[in-house]
Symmetry: C2
Subunit: 287 residues, 2 copies
Amino acid sequence: MRDFSSNHEALSINTATLRKQWPLERIVEECARRGIRAISPWRDQVAQVGIGAVARQLKDAGIALSGYCRGGFFPAADEAGLARAIDDNRRAIDEAKRLNAPCLVLVVGSLPGALDGAPVHHDISRARGEVFEGIAKSLEYAIEADMPLAIEPLHPMQAADRACVNTLEQALDLCDALDPERARRLGVAVDLYHVWWDPKLERQIARAGRDRLLAYHVCDWLVPTKDLVCDRGMMGDGVIELKKCRQWVEEAGYTGFSEVEIFSDFWWSQPGERVLDTCIQRHRKCV
Amino acid sequence: MRDFSSNHEALSINTATLRKQWPLERIVEECARRGIRAISPWRDQVAQVGIGAVARQLKDAGIALSGYCRGGFFPAADEAGLARAIDDNRRAIDEAKRLNAPCLVLVVGSLPGALDGAPVHHDISRARGEVFEGIAKSLEYAIEADMPLAIEPLHPMQAADRACVNTLEQALDLCDALDPERARRLGVAVDLYHVWWDPKLERQIARAGRDRLLAYHVCDWLVPTKDLVCDRGMMGDGVIELKKCRQWVEEAGYTGFSEVEIFSDFWWSQPGERVLDTCIQRHRKCV
């Protein structure tokens, strides 16, 4: 297992971690100042600055991407909605390519309308079918663009509204069905916050292997957790066995970045400098 | 599939649904008045009244149990704690027997101390091992007492503090290991709130079959869900496909009660009469 204790070469910052404090330019600037070598930005943050400017700033700062957030949200109320989702995923693939991302992360979506509290139907099997079709269609375009797609299984508590792919096993079943050659065109983003609880985690990480492990995200699970979306913990403040899980991932062949992604009302209320410094410190000590 | 629309013969009320409004005697009284034929009471509610008095009242009212809540919470910080948990489960088995429960429901526990926000360790594999041992030991006693044990997989969002058995598959793996004869001594309590999201739900219900399906709980998953414990929905107010799931359970051979268990700050704030009447009405319409 790599030694993270003496430097933060492997650290990447998912820019959602600082979305309430700073615009993307400032996040990049502050990361560069601290010798952070990678980020994973969100589309809305990129759009705010302009993708050309972001690409230039990253190049000048020598900062790489560990992923691009995000494609997905395939299920829709009707055919037109499904088609719009495919179009939108193509644009996301183009943007990821422009920014030299190693993969586009897919949060696949679930019951249409549920995120606004008004699901238009309750058929999660239908949503899963639409996700399958949506990924299949996006994959053709992604292969042409040479941009790997990383399916991110989300915690089952987000199954209704954000993603109906909820275990690593389910994500890997999708990968096996759509990319049986394991040619690093379709894989998974393993975010420990979503999968830490899974009794099959170790086995499924081994099954994923180097070919399917396209991204690795860390934070922590707090006890108690007070909100289903915005109460993630800083590494070391919760119960996830971060080092044990990283060992599994590295034994499976993963050698990429370890990306910190913390959606947290608490950390969003703190000065950005403090958040970034804490990420670095905890990444050395706890990840 | 049984027709629930014209009567509520199959309805059972888990008494936690009304724990903030009424003591157990009053719950039994109000259920009897409405022709409800079964309840599933909690140990603390029974203890408050005295088990003898509860047994008599149930007998007089002609109300059966659909289960007894609950045993479990096996993992502990040390050997003494593990032994205390086994003792406590034996007492729960005795109580279940005294009340003629068809099964003792097991919420198995997880990281010791986590429920108080202070986990003494973070090793969920260790907790899972202790759960295995705890159920094995309790099962010997349960078999002597002829009291089936029903493992209840809890939602993964409760994996750290309440139960480290988080999928039906995991619960059934435990059953297969500890009761390979499938002699209705060890089975599962399927609470849709905890398992509805699972892409393997249908297959695992079929795998469970009549021998392992010892209890069936319903409520609903709200979008958005605002609390990890106390924001369950009334049937029909959320996104769980209640009828589809009941069809799977009945196709697998389940013929028992359909038990309404709603932990909800909202429903606890409503008059008990309104809650019970709504349970009956929604059970006919939505379950």
